[in-house]
Every structure is written in structure tokens, then in C-alpha cells.
Amino acid sequence: MTFGDTIGGSFSPLWAGAAVALLAAFAVWHYLALRSRVSVTRALALAILRCTAIALVLVLIAGPRVVRRTFQQVRRPLAVAVDTTRSMGLSGGLEHSRLDRVRGFLGSGAFSRIAAGFVPAYFSISESLTPIAREGIGALLPQEPRTDLAGALRGAGGTGEPAALVLFTDGGHGASVRAEALAALPDVPLVIVGVGAGERTLDAEIAAVEPPAIAFAGQVVQIQVLLRASGLAGRSVPLLLKRGEQVLVSRTVVLPADGQDLRAVLEWTPPAPGSYPLVVQLPVQDGEQIVDNNRAELPIEAVRDKIRVLLVTGYPSWSYRFLRGALKGDPSLDVVSFIILRTASDAVDVPQQDLSLIPFPTQKIFLEELPNFDLLVFDNFASQPYLPSAYLDKVEEFVRRGGGFWMLGGPLSYLGGRYQQSSIAPVLPVELPQTPPAAGAFRDLPVQPRLTPAGRNHPFFQGLADNGGEPPPLRGYNVTGPARPGAVVLAEVPLGGGQSQPLIVLGRYGNGRVLSVLTDSLWDWAFAEAGRGRGSRAYLAFVRQAVRWSIGDPQLQPLRIEPERVKLSPGDPIRARIRVLGEDFLPSARTELSATLRGPGGESRALVPALEAPGVYRIEALAAGEGSWEIAAEASVRGAIYARASATVSASWPPEEFRSPGLNRPALTALLSGRRGAFLELGETGATAAALEKTLDELTASGPNERADAKPLAEMLPVFLALLTVLAAEWILRRRTGLD
């Protein structure tokens, strides 16, 4: 619609004023100069004609243009989006649900008058924007499980460049409003009409749970819980920490007033290392509409505190010195060591008070303290005369119950220590003949050990890479029988004739892990290797990995479960890959794998692992409900379990949708950060409409569409003809007056 034309030019007001003043001055001077020669009338006429001609010439030189402006009023698109997620079905104690209230507003005459100034287009919004007809608003249902306002609004670019986007929502959403998401939003003015203010919803909410940064088995962990409530201020309720249906901790809290935070602390001690899929829970209160936010998943992974190592050494030796250095250099280890510095046959010429020796507290160590250690090391140590058989029985019990045990070689180890007659013998992964060989129980001669196929693949020897994977030579070895059935020989000493002496052997005894090293010169892998320019990596890596294997470190487990996703959304199946190797860290056809899935309620069912590749299986199952689902697997050979592993995945839906039942102002105002827009609240229809109209006027007041056409005035023929006419008239008048 055209509603106005104007004519304008491009004269500079300053230059135009100056030109007029000069012309006026010239006209006066010219008139005075002519009046003495002609009549007053003729002098005045000639002066006017001359000035007019000069003015026309100036107009032609200055080049003014005629501009024609055309103004039109256009109705622009207005996008109107309505949140249709489940939280919009809440009424919060009012007569109508949030969605019904929005429907009522959009159907009101007040909104129709606003919409008349635009071309409205309607959308439903959850995780995306979906176009709907205006008539379809009445059929909308609050059923979408999840909201991602920022993600959905990124699609607003496809709404036809609207003048503004008006969003009706309560802000309950399941995706964090991240800065990068906001930066990607189209530059459309956004008017958010918040729904849910003024409701009186009864709700107790676990707003946040902060797990400990690290949890150690046997040590108290503190779990920080942030509680909020609506309409339940002052009510005492139990705050529970549960594993499945088992209540681990219960403490009473008094719910805070509306808008207030309450921080509570739950204390619990993980009894052993492992995964604990825990839940923090508030019981559902009478009249409470939202129950999803009464619980929060809290997976805790409890690890060992420092690994406690008890090192007992038969006499001071380089083996001890380098082993102690390697153990002490590992900050995750707490090493207690005893060395027999003096035997009964050693004579000193000073009183006891001048010696720094302390008695070997065998009774306290072996009868009382042994269970507090994770790993016991006998380093070239003969049990006699220090450890009576009852003490060795305790060692056997320690290993059987899950302790790690090393026997390191030397003249006092194995047969040299007469262990073949002790309760330690069956613990060891090598057989000990009752009678030592005639040539002696320890051979002191240089040997070149070799790794077995199991050893070449084993993490113990990753430090040998600089040596082409070959073990450096050693000096001496213990003589024993062969490895026990089920033991894994990692390295051996070739004896010729196809015979070999096991050198480094792994074994299991009960729940414990046993490492046998049948030499006392393994420190050559540190010191002699340094002289060969290869440093002490081989030795340090061996010790470090052997300690971790001995305590069952999951990183050195031959069985690992790798979930595809640890947080599941609705419809996501539980998928995981299970990697299983034999005790020798090689894929083994003899390995039997079993897996189970335990649900949040403690129900358990068997899974059927599908072989994907040698040593790699896949499992897939349906998470039938919310909560923590624990995948457990066991690897065994001929029924003997040698490795266990577990992993936990968490299923939660609708994620976060009902975390906070009220109007989520912070999330919604965050959407407006750094952009043109406004936040309103849906209240009484007239007031809301007035506020919306005013806001839209401000945001869309870009003025009517304008079109301007410019035409240079100097090109217009009439001006030129006028100039000629004026000049001709002046010439004729001057001729008639007798002037030149």
C-alpha cells in the first residue's frame, strides 16, 4: 500500500545559503550600477533577470536530484511455539494445566488482535520445532519426553525470517543450555512467555548429588546432597542412600522453604574396592505430583587407598636395594620392610644399645597385621628360624583370602628356605621337590632367560621394548620342580636337551595371586641395563606391573567390560564389549565366559555373549526401567574362575524433565543472553497480552518498508529552457534600453 510521496534534493544547506547571499549581493550591486544609466524599473528588471540566469546556471552545475519515496506497510511472519513436553501437563494446584492455559491465551481475543498485525505461524517445540496449524493447538498433548529448547530453536531459521519468535514454555528441559548452543541460534528476536509462575506444587526434590572426588575402600566417603522443596517446608523426611533395595544410610532432614536450598551430607564406607551403583532417595510425600526428582543415581567407584606392601628380606642385598627403590618410588605404594641385618651367628663387639637393630616383630606382623597388607613379599627369605609353622599358616590363609604374594629368588628361597616342607609350598605356582638336587638349590652362573609366548604378550615386560622384547641376562637361578598345572610361565631358563627351569611364574591360590621369581639378580635389569644404555625401564615396569597384577588391578585384569554408553536414554539398549584373555594374556579357546545383568531392583538374568573376534564378545540387553544396571562377567577355565569384572550403566528417563517442576527462569533467561528478546510470564490474559504487544512493538518497530527513486534535476529539459528564456529576455531588454 502506497501512502506517501516526497520530493527532496541533495543541496547542502550551507552552500545553498552562501549562493543565495552572494546572488542577493550581486543583484543589489547590479541594480545600483544600472540605475544611473536606465530607469529604475528597467534596472530592477535587468538585475532580476541576470540573477535568475546565474541561479539557473548554478542549479545546473550543482546537480540536484529529485527523489521520489514510496512507503508501504507489510505484515511480517510471527512464529509462535508451544512447549509440548510432559511438564506442560502439570497444573501446580491450579484449575488448568500449563498447556491448557497457553491454549486459552492463544485463543483469546487479546492475542488475536496482536496476531492480526502479523502473519502468525504456529509450532510445537520439544527437541525440535514442528509446524502445526492454528487449529491444531487444541489437539496438542503434553507428552514429549524431553526438551532441548536451544537445540529446537536452532531450527527457527526455517520459520521464514519471522519478525519475532514467541515461545510458551515452562523451561523444564533435559539439555543444558550451553554457550555454544546459544551462539548457534538464529538472530531472531525471542519473546519467552514463561508458564508455571504462581503455582503451588507439592514437591520434594533432590536437586543435585555431588559424589566424592575419589572413594577409597574402607574409608568414609561424604556424599553432598542438595535438596529443594515446594510447599513442604518444615516437613521431616528420611534421606536414604540405597543400593538396590538395601538401605545403606538413612538420616532425617527437614525440608526447606520454597526457593531455599538445603545441603545434607550422607556418610558411607565402601567395604571393598569395586563399583557401587547407589541411589539417593527421598520417599514420595502425600500429594506430591512429581516423583521423578525424588531420586538420583550415584555410581561410586571405590578404589584402594595406598597399596600396602610388606617386604621381608633375608639379608641386605642388591636385590633388596633396587626393589626397595622401585617400590618406594611409586607414590601409590606404602611399603613396610624388614631385613634380617644380623643372625644369631653374627658377632658384634658392642652392646645392643650401640646397634640400631630392632627385633623382628613376627608375632604382631604375621598373627595380627598381615590382613592389613595387600601384598606380601618374601625376598630371598628363609622362614626358619623366624616364622613357626603357625605363622606360615597365616601366610597361606592370607593368600587364600585374596592377598598378593611374591617369592623372590636367592639362596634362601624355595628349596634353600625349606619351603617344600611348609604350608607355603602349595601356594607357590612351582612345584618344590622334597629333596634338593645334589648340585644345589641355587645355581650361581650367568644365564640368558627367554620369554615364553605368554611372557611376550604380557604387560609385565612392556619395558623390554628397547631390547627388542628380549630379557637381559641374569646371574643365577633357583632350582625347583616344574610349574604347577594352571600356572602361567612367563620366562624360563633353557637348560638344554629341551629342558627348562621356570623363572617367572604366575599362579592363583584361592582368591590370591602369586608371583614366583626364581632369581635374585633381576636388579640387573635396572643397573646392568643402564650400563648398556637402556636405563632401568625394564625393571621398573616389571615391578610396577607385577604389584598391580598382584592386587587385582582392573587395568591388569584379563577380563574387561566396556559399555558402549554408560548413560542410557529411552530406547537405548544396554550394549557392551567384553574382552577376555587367558591368564597368559592371550586369547584362549579354553576360556569360558559367563555374563549377567542385574537390574535396579536386584533382579538378575543371564546374558548370552556373542563372539565377535578372538577374545572379544558383545552383549546386548534391554534396560526395562530406570536405574543402575550392572553387567557382571566371569572368566573361567574348566569351571575355575580366574577373572571377574563388572561395569554399571545408568538408565534415566525422562532425563531431567521433571527435575524442577516450577518455572525454570534461569534456563529461560539464559536463552535470552546476548540477543534481542524479552521474558514475560503468562498470567491474566489481558495483562499478558498488553505486555506481549508492547514487547513486540519494541522488538519489531523497524518502520514501514520504504522505496526511493532519485532523478538528477540537471537533466531536466525545462530548467535548461528556462535558462535560455531568461537569457533571451535579458538580451532583448538590454538591446531595447540601448545597453551592450
Partner: protein, 229 residues
């Protein structure tokens, strides 16, 4: 020797550094007695004979304990020897130096400090405090002594918490030397035989420290040692 160890090798070897120039073997009979005393007093299994070794010897890295002594200046080590010595120290070796002349600033003292500074330019010898593990590794040693007492303290070069070089200015091995008739070669001055006994104690402690590190600093020893010191 225990009956079950008939075939056991003696694991601690008293290795002595042989170097060109100077007089590396100041007390040829000293090590034998020292070795016997270590064996007699402690549970350490010791090689019965002294091992002589040079810095270029392929067997250098079989011996983490190395004793070096002298009275006079000696020929500077070659660069290869210096680098080998540095590697040996950093890999875990314990070097015990003993000034047999007891002349600080001259002769062996000056030469050894010069060569050590070349090998370990980032570290230097410092006085060992009285609570250093060396002084309580086996005997409770309260007096530093050798055949003479030039200085009442030891010096040491410590890397990563381990004293890798121990320096005695008091002719420690001189206190252990006997002539073929079994008489002491040098008198111990000024303390006489008691000083000699203290020198043995310090020597044993040095070997014990080389083999056990700071074992005596472990918490479990603290209450016992506190009572006795």
C-alpha cells in the same frame, strides 16, 4: 655360612676403582679385613676377594658399590670415563671416596673433587647431617673416624634422596690395613684402638647404607631408635 647355602655366591663385592696416575691402592691389605669384619658382624653375604675395576671395565655395571682412594693427584678421567661414571651413579651406584692423605685441598682430595664436579656438575658434596641414615644403618655411630680424624664429618652427594657419593677425608681404609705379620700398618690417631673400632663401625654402616638405602628411616624403626640415640 649357612648349611643350605653351600652353593651360594657372595653377593656383596668390595669393588675398588683403579685409575691411572696417582696411587689408587693405598692400603692393599685393608679390604680383606674389612670384608671379613662385614661378614663376621652382619648377615651380608660378601665376596671374599676385593674386585679391582676401572671406569671402562665392561663389568663396571655389575658392581653397584665402588671404593676409590688415594693420596696424590691423579690423571683426569677421559670424557668417556666421566660419562660412564655419571651413568653409573645415576643408575644406582654408590661411590665411596677416601682421602688416604687427609690433606684437604691438595692431592687426592682436590683431584677427586675436580673429577666429581665434571661427572656431576649439577650436584656437589655436602656435609652429611648427624641424623643421616649412614650413622644408624647398623651401628649407632656418633663419631666419624678413620686412621686419622682430619674432619669430624662425612660429606656426601645426594641425588633424589639417595646419597650416591660418600666422601671420607679421614683415611677410613687405613684403619683396616695389617702387615703380613698381622700388625696394624698405621696407628689410629688420636683415638687409638677405640678410634679403629669406630672406623670399622662406620665402614660397616656405609656398606649397609649402600645395600639398604634409607631403610632405617622407615617409621617402624623410629620409636626404637629414639630410645637408643
Amino acid at each position: 655360612m649357612r648349611p643350605e647355602q653351600q652353593d651360594a655366591v657372595k653377593r656383596f663385592a668390595f669393588a675398588q676403582l683403579r685409575y691411572p696416575g696417582g696411587d689408587w691402592d693405598t692400603h692393599p691389605s685393608g679390604p680383606a679385613l674389612f670384608i671379613r669384619e662385614i661378614e663376621r658382624m652382619t648377615s651380608i653375604e660378601v665376596e671374599p676377594e676385593r674386585r679391582e675395576i676401572t671406569l671402562t671395565d665392561p663389568e663396571l655395571f655389575s658392581y653397584p658399590f665402588l671404593y676409590v682412594s688415594g693420596r696424590r693427584d691423579f690423571t683426569p678421567f677421559t670424557q668417556a670415563e666421566i660419562e660412564r661414571l655419571r651413568t653409573w651413579i645415576e643408575a644406582g651406584g654408590t661411590l665411596v671416596a677416601d682421602d688416604a692423605a687427609g690433606t684437604p685441598g691438595y692431592g687426592f682430595d682436590a683431584a677427586f673433587r675436580r673429577e666429581l664436579a665434571r661427572a656431576m656438575p649439577m650436584a656437589h658434596l655436602e656435609r652429611l647431617p648427624a641424623d643421616h641414615t649412614i650413622f644408624k644403618a647398623f651401628f649407632l655411630v656418633r663419631t666419624v673416624a678413620g686412621a686419622r680424624v682430619v674432619s669430624p664429618f662425612l660429606e656426601g652427594l645426594t641425588i633424589q634422596g639417595r646419597t650416591a657419593v660418600i666422601y671420607s677425608p679421614n683415611d677410613l681404609l687405613g684403619a683396616f690395613a695389617r702387615d703380613p705379620l698381622g700388625r696394624w700398618v698405621d696407628p689410629c690417631a688420636p683415638g687409638g684402638e677405640r678410634q679403629r673400632r669406630l672406623a670399622f663401625h662406620l665402614g660397616v654402616n656405609i656398606v649397609m647404607y649402600a645395600l639398604c638405602g634409607d631403610y632405617k628411616q622407615d617409621r617402624i624403626h623410629t620409636p626404637f631408635l629414639r630410645q637408643r640415640i
